[in-house]
Symmetry: C2
Subunit: 123 residues, 2 copies
């Protein structure tokens, strides 16, 4: 079965949004080197709320991209890890993120030109 992102009735289109979500990307990148506990994820993805992190992890778990393991400690320890299905995606996410980090200066300059005074273009 192969999807078609250009077909509005194909669930691939909605999946594109899911795997393009910044929190999903940051969470998966944080798991790239091995399993990470919930509280460590929250600390490493600075600025994410507990609720948003929970929602993001639940969505990724439902999509089969990460797996949640609970250890019977007191209090219970919960750890997240990438699944084999995620292996082919994580490299692309890393490349997209790296592209954004390398080009944010050019993007910011483009925005300044777009938002700037129009008469400067006529000079």
């Amino acid at each position: 079965m192969t999807g078609d992102a250009f077909n509005p009735d194909c669930p691939t289109r909605q999946l594109l949004d899911r795997i393009g979500d910044k929190w999903a990307v940051l969470a998966m990148l944080t798991l790239a080197d091995g399993p990470v506990r919930f509280n460590d994820l929250r600390r490493r993805i600075a600025g994410i709320s507990q609720k948003m992190l929970s929602q993001t992890l639940k969505s990724l778990e439902r999509d089969g991209l990460i797996v949640r393991t609970a250890f019977p400690t007191v209090p219970v320890t919960v750890e997240y890890a990438l699944t084999p299905l995620a292996a082919g995606l994580i490299g692309l996410m890393a490349q997209i993120t790296e592209w954004a980090e390398m080009h944010i200066g050019q993007i910011a300059a483009a925005r300044a030109r777009y938002d700037g005074p129009r008469d400067s273009l006529a000079a």
Copy 2:
């Protein structure tokens, strides 16, 4: 200047969301082979509203990823094309989309398992 997507104060994080938006991805992929007119874009990205397409194109133009050219025909013809800045991104967007299209079956199966009756896991 290099960004850091893990820094909540860095605009890279917001850029990640922008370039991960499904409409932005589909619009840029539609321009991958050369300039396309607004109405052709709308037809090829089935299911997008005129308003959403306009907003998406304006954001991409502001980010310096596409360029808009108006030809003085009657009525005026408006054409969009990728910029050189977009060249390094379009390949990654194509790969992410292809990954989603190839794996939507596995994702759908994972969702069905997640949503399915829990007692089947105990069998």
